[in-house]
């Protein structure tokens, strides 16, 4: 068997694993002063190499070692994950230096988390899906509780862990129903057997439990209402660079796995899971936005806003179709566009929060007062990210919203479209509250503060990303449509 294993296809994963181990060893032997720049340097180098190695998967369509797919869909998410984690590392250089002395473990854990994402987004077998998600979860719990002397970080980690353990167990129960019904864990094989006569007769009773229970695990990762309760506490208590990771890469992984499992294994159960996701989408965006309105901490407000955005991403999956000729607006490409736009935008917003925390000690709305006078670059960056979150053209958020609204309207889900529109307006309201606080509230007695160099680079890259996705929408759309096409069997 091993001689048929195509190791080149596994190169990105292997590179990440080796880099994580190297980082731990460098941390053991390097002096503190060297380690401060060497650890993030090695980590970023590993991510860039893995990113380059992953390019071989663009356009491919094969299964490696039985349980991993090398295809454009997986490649797309790997690209988003690698780029975002590089930004997270840049943003965490100073933030983590001042808060913990276990830097080697921190960067190694970020790399292992990326590895878990790589495995999860390309998994074509329920067992690999579970192991990918579980590795990601366990690493995320530790990263969330990384600041052990900070009570909020501890509380966040324990809440995240308890929810996560239960969600995993429920998801596994759903998987076991699917396995019992079809006798296989391979996604494509499950789809085939679900069509077979003896299974079909039983389907009307098992379909709902199997779909709902499996969806619980994915919905937990993607923080959809009502599986979101962990998210605000985890996002607020975790070190802010970790929040950047959780709210973008980890969430995107939930959507990637959800899309692959539902589209590959259960296309014949489409009416069940689409109905479920339709309800979840409406619930998620409405609840997320309504609670976000009332927050006084910007970090917590962004946490709820990020729950609401998960509802928007879900719209794409609800309206998924396979139009002839591989035209855009098939729904799944909306999910992909939203994920990349959202990664830059939301990671950027949380990065500004991290910088403000660094400069002023906390991230309440009050800390943002008169930011334009104290840290003009941060205020300008935050303005761009907030406008993008609100969906203003020509920024990334606009392109993303366009690609999830279009398929929903095309499918004539008008109720969903109207609810989403109202929610987009409500969200713009609380984003503007922060803008007002930054630009129009004057607090003369507060000192100005500087932004760390790594953070400055990360912010510039994310600003370029936000403009880039918005302006070169065509190119990203092309990528998304191509990546989605393989998954939809076009």
């Amino acid at each position: 068997m091993l001689n048929t294993l195509n190791v080149v296809r596994l190169l990105p994963e292997l590179i990440l694993l080796v880099t994580a181990l190297v980082v731990i060893f460098v941390d053991l032997y390097a002096r503190r002063r060297t380690a401060l720049w060497l650890l993030p340097g090695v980590s970023i180098a590993g991510l860039v190499l893995a990113f380059v190695a992953a390019f071989a998967q663009w356009g491919a369509q094969e299964v490696v070692a039985g349980t991993l797919a090398a295809d454009s869909f997986a490649f797309y998410f790997k690209l988003v994950a690698a780029v975002t984690v590089v930004l997270v590392i840049l943003a965490s250089v100073r933030y983590m230096r001042e808060r913990t002395r276990f830097l080697g473990e921190f960067y190694a854990f970020l790399l292992v988390a990326t590895l878990a994402v790589f495995v999860a987004v390309s998994a074509t077998d329920l067992i690999t899906v579970y192991l990918g998600l579980e590795t990601l979860s366990i690493v995320s719990y530790v990263l969330t509780g990384f600041l052990r002397d900070d009570k909020r970080s501890n509380e966040a980690a324990i809440k995240y862990f308890l929810y996560g353990a239960v969600a995993s167990a429920i998801m596994l129960y759903g998987f076991s129903l699917l396995y019992g019904l079809t006798g296989t864990t391979d996604l494509a094989e499950i789809a085939r057997r679900l069509q077979a006569g003896d299974v079909l007769a039983n389907l009307e009773w098992v379909a709902w439990p199997a779909v709902i229970l499996a969806a619980v695990g994915f919905a937990f990762k993607a923080s959809l209402v009502p599986f979101h309760q962990w998210a605000p506490d985890a996002y607020e208590g975790a070190p802010t660079p970790v929040t950047m990771f959780l709210s973008t890469v980890s969430k995107a992984t939930g959507f990637a796995v959800m899309a692959r499992v539902f589209l590959t294994a259960m296309p014949s159960l489409g009416e069940y899971w689409m109905a479920l996701l339709y309800g979840l989408a409406i619930l998620t965006m409405t609840v997320g936005n309504l609670i976000a309105l009332r927050q006084t901490s910007v970090k917590r407000m962004l946490a709820y806003s990020s729950i609401a955005h998960a509802g928007f991403i879900l719209m794409g999956l609800v309206a998924v179709t396979a139009p002839a000729g591989g035209h855009p607006f098939n729904g799944l490409d909306g999910v992909l566009m939203y994920v990349v736009a959202y990664a830059f935008t939301n990671a950027g917003a949380f990065a500004v929060v991290a910088a403000v925390e660094d400069g002023t000690g906390d991230a309440t709305l009050d800390n943002f007062a008169g930011l334009i006078a104290r840290a003009p670059f941060l205020a300008a960056a935050m303005l761009i990210f907030l406008l993008s979150l609100a969906g203003v053209p020509p920024l990334a958020g606009f392109a993303a919203k366009l690609f999830v609204f279009a398929p929903v309207v095309r499918q004539e889900y008008y109720a969903l479209a109207v609810v989403a529109l109202v929610n987009a307006v409500v969200a713009a309201g609380y984003y503007l509250k922060v803008v007002k606080q930054m630009f129009f509230v004057e607090v003369p007695e507060r000192p100005a503060f500087a932004v760390a160099r790594g953070m400055r680079w990360a912010l510039w890259l994310m600003i370029i990303g936000v403009f880039g996705v918005g302006i070169f929408m065509n190119w990203f759309a092309f990528m998304s449509v191509r990546s989605a096409a393989g998954m939809l069997g076009l």
Partner: protein, 165 residues
């Protein structure tokens, strides 16, 4: 017939112990009931003619994990005696909701679904097949599991370390 009675007894034992794990007010007693429940699951594996799984269950869960849990409880201050399982005033409602949902699910899964049955005897070389699967088709999940364990190990040390001075 005898097999059915044995199955029923073993299942009652397993579920009963599991129930005690979550309802007992002392954490240490809960851990001991957990051991009993693990044994019950091992007996179920034997009834399913999965001897290797049964042995692995006893070795890993009863032998290693239960011991570890008991050690962890013994080494944590104030956990050995008295009322140590946390409980809040939502327990009754949560319990009711879980029982109702669980019964509905069980009704559907047990009485409404004709599970497809493979009417073949268990092959004699299951262990060999299992070994081949782990280094063949399931080599990637197998290795990912080891990464998971490594991460969990490092993470546990990191979180449970002595307080810095």
């Amino acid at each position: 017939m005898i097999l059915k009675v044995v199955f029923l007894l073993v299942s009652l034992f397993t579920v009963g112990s599991a129930l005690m794990v979550v309802t007992h007010k002392n954490l240490f007693s809960s851990a001991l009931f957990l051991v009993a429940s693990f044994f019950g699951v091992a007996a179920l594996y034997v009834l399913l003619e999965a001897e290797f799984l049964a042995v692995a269950q006893v070795l890993i869960y009863v032998g290693a994990i239960a011991t570890l849990i008991i050690f962890a409880i013994m080494l944590t201050r104030g956990m050995m005696s008295g009322r140590t399982s946390p409980r809040n005033d939502q327990a009754a409602w949560a319990g009711l909701a879980s029982v109702v949902l669980g019964l509905v699910l069980l009704y559907v899964v047990v009485f409404r679904v004709q599970w497809p049955v493979v009417e073949k005897p268990v092959p004699p070389d299951t262990i060999e097949q299992l070994g081949r699967a782990l280094v063949g088709r399931y080599v990637v999940p197998f290795e990912v599991a080891s990464v998971l364990l490594l991460a969990a190990l490092v993470g546990a040390v990191l979180i449970a370390r002595e307080k810095e001075v």
